[in-house]
């Protein structure tokens, strides 16, 4: 045996594949920040020179700020609502035996695979039939449907690893269901909650299709970017805006995963004993 155990031996082919995979995945994306600093309205090589003008230009546009404000507001409420609903759902799924349980879980997860166009059109028809005017509320409702499965999927593993005797120990020590939830259940699943908040916020912030169908006069940032694509002069500013969104999204998702991992590491240190 060379170094370490058999399973830990470096696998050259796999390393090459992983690097290649990342290169193919992220090279196109890297062009966006690259050209956002390019001193030309045309996206082509050779690069013309470094500039921050496109970022400065963004700074002065009220419509960008309005769209950003809308995106943040919708993202904030959607992440809170979907995480709260996901929390309840994950607890119910893992804790109680409900008839038709797996069917319910499948239906809750369905928006993950149903095309956004179909959902968007369906909701648009529903809203107009009901006479609900399109607004940021309808946008938020659409986002909620998209985000809920992600919230459940993020929270479910934390609840599945949850030792039921924790609840019983708390009850035994004199706490009722309400206090048990706040003193035991919630702190233990908290890393999952934070991860879910960040993930659903990011999804809502980046969401385009549902927003496209369901937004009224107020738009979100992705829609704003899309409308600006018609004007070639605006394109570098769009690239600058996209770069900022890219950076923020990356940081948020990274933090979400990292927090989830920290929680997992903490709990994996606790040896599980079978009854």
């Amino acid at each position: 045996m060379k170094s370490g155990s058999y399973i830990r031996q470096p696998n050259r082919a796999l390393q090459v594949y992983a690097i290649l995979f990342l290169v193919v995945l992220y090279t196109p994306v890297l062009f966006i920040p690259l050209f956002s600093f390019n001193d030309s309205i045309y996206v082509r090589f050779p690069l013309q020179g470094f500039t921050l003008d496109w970022y400065k230009d963004l700074w002065t546009r009220d419509t960008v700020w309005a769209a950003l404000g809308n995106s943040l507001t919708v993202g904030f409420w959607v992440s809170i609502t979907s995480t709260a609903l996901g929390l309840v759902a994950a607890r119910a799924i893992t804790r109680y035996r409900v008839p038709g349980q797996s069917a319910i879980v499948t239906f809750a997860m369905l928006p993950l695979v149903i095309p956004g166009v179909i959902f968007g059109v369906a909701l648009l028809v529903l809203m107009s039939r009901l006479g609900v005017p399109l607004s940021l509320y309808t946008v938020a409702f659409g986002h909620l449907i998209i985000c809920l499965p992600f919230a459940i999927a993020t929270l479910l593993p934390r609840f599945e690893g949850f030792d039921r005797s924790m609840d019983e120990a708390s009850a035994d020590l004199g706490e009722n269901g309400w206090w048990t939830f706040w003193r035991v259940t919630f702190p233990i699943v908290a890393p999952g909650v934070v991860a879910s908040l960040l993930l659903t916020f990011t999804i809502s912030f980046d969401e385009f299709i549902m927003t496209f169908f369901l937004s009224g006069t107020d738009t979100t940032l992705p829609i704003y970017i899309w409308t600006q694509l018609r004007f070639p002069r605006e394109f570098p500013s769009v690239l600058a805006l996209s770069s900022i969104i890219l950076a923020v999204s990356f940081v948020l998702v990274f933090v979400a995963l990292w927090i989830g991992r920290m929680g997992l590491v903490r709990d994996l240190n606790v040896p599980q004993q079978e009854a």
């Binding site: 030792d163 005797s165 924790m166 019983e168 120990a169 708390s170 009850a171 035994d172 020590l173 004199g174 706490e175 009722n176 206090w179 003193r183 035991v184 702190p187 233990i188 908290a190 903490r266 709990d267 240190n269 606790v270 040896p271 004993q273 009854a275």
Partner: protein
């Protein structure tokens, strides 16, 4: 010895009264109409193989399982409508259930919230418990930084800080290795004696139950077979199941031939005619019963002993040398299974080969007459 024997440090006042308690899941009867009392200050064990209902009964006392019938009284109060968080009992869980997000001190102090104590008083109580379970200085540690034995002590301290009327322990020593388990047994006993709280202890380990308990309830198939002191269970088991479960035993089929002057005449397959004290039992002529004797009560002889004592002749089949003692298997005509004999090797180790004639004697009161199950 009788079932009403209670422990020396227990008063005769029951802290727990179990009355006709039953539990059924559909048609399956998990617990069958159990009635018994557990005395104040007693170390009481529920002993049985897995699936005998001992843990279910314990969880009923804690309030985690509902009762299908009957009633449990704790300190005179009926418990049916009292949820777990309002019962005057605390539990040590089999897997300890240490809260992973809290440190040792916060785990131990978990139950103190409702008492609304000042911070200093709370800290003082936690320190006192840490001292009691010999974990001084461990307050800031997390659960995963502790060994199995230490986690067990935290679970114990967390349950005891509320001064429960009864402490319930669900196989708390099961996850520990043999050496640590024996050490914890001594500590549990010491702790229980010093604080005087009633312990109800679930275990499948008969040796552990004998070591720790004032009284033991032997359970099988959801029913309580016998409740007695360790000595009572070992020396005077009532039924074959109990005799079989606690220690080793030689069994002989027998039939009652008659009764004279408080003695019963038995027809034992291996022994032939035998006379035993009937001690108020209901033996009547024609009853098919079972006679039993512990392996260590039999004495092995190389030559026929003086007449006058009851004696049984057989052939030595196998000798097993175990260091401090030896086991012998002796085949006796008319007896299906060889008779087991256990002897201390206090003198020289046994000599002489197998396949030789041997004689067995026993004190008269060592023979146990068992009821048919």
């Amino acid at each position: 010895m009788s079932a009403s024997v209670s422990a020396p440090n227990a008063s005769t006042e029951p802290i727990i009264s179990i009355r006709d308690v039953g539990k059924s899941y559909g048609t399956f009867q998990a617990i069958e109409r159990i009635s018994m009392d557990i005395q104040k200050g007693e170390f009481f064990s529920l002993l049985g193989a897995s699936g005998c209902g001992k843990t279910t009964l314990l969880r009923m006392l804690a309030g985690f399982e509902s009762l299908s019938s009957g009633e449990i009284y704790i300190d005179g109060q009926p418990m049916s409508d009292v949820p777990p968080f309002q019962r005057p009992v605390n539990m040590v869980f089999q897997n300890y259930a240490i809260f992973p997000h809290l440190n040792v001190a916060d785990n131990i102090g978990y139950g103190l919230r409702k008492l609304k104590l000042p911070k200093a008083k709370r800290a003082e109580m936690i320190d006192e418990m840490l001292g009691l379970v010999q974990l001084d200085g461990y307050g800031k540690r997390r659960g995963h930084e502790l060994s199995g034995g230490q986690r067990q002590r935290v679970a114990l301290a967390r349950a005891l800080i509320l001064r429960p009327k009864v402490l319930l322990l669900d196989e708390p020593l099961g996850a520990l290795d043999k050496q640590l388990r024996e050490q914890m047994q001594i500590e549990l006993r010491r702790l229980q004696r010093s604080i005087g709280i009633t312990f109800v202890f679930v275990t499948h380990d008969q040796e552990e139950a004998l070591t720790l308990s004032d009284r033991i309830a032997v359970m099988q198939g959801g029913a309580v077979l016998q409740v007695d002191t360790p000595t009572g269970l070992y020396e005077a088991p009532k039924t074959r199941s109990v005799a079989n479960f606690i220690g080793n035993m030689n069994f002989f089929e027998a039939q009652v031939a008659g009764r004279v002057n408080g003695h019963a005449h038995l027809d034992v397959a291996a022994f032939g005619k035998l006379q035993v004290p009937a001690k108020g039992s209901t033996l009547t002529e024609g009853d098919k019963i079972c006679v039993a004797i512990r392996p260590e009560k039999l004495k092995l002889h190389d030559a026929a002993p003086d007449s006058g004592t009851p004696v049984l002749k057989g052939e030595l089949e196998m000798t097993t040398y175990l260091g401090e003692r030896s086991h012998f298997h002796v085949s006796v005509p008319g007896c299906d299974t060889p008779i087991a004999i256990s002897a201390q090797n206090s003198g020289l180790a046994p000599t002489g080969g197998d396949r030789r004639p041997v004689w067995m004697t026993w004190p008269e009161d060592a023979l146990i007459v068992l009821e048919k199950d």
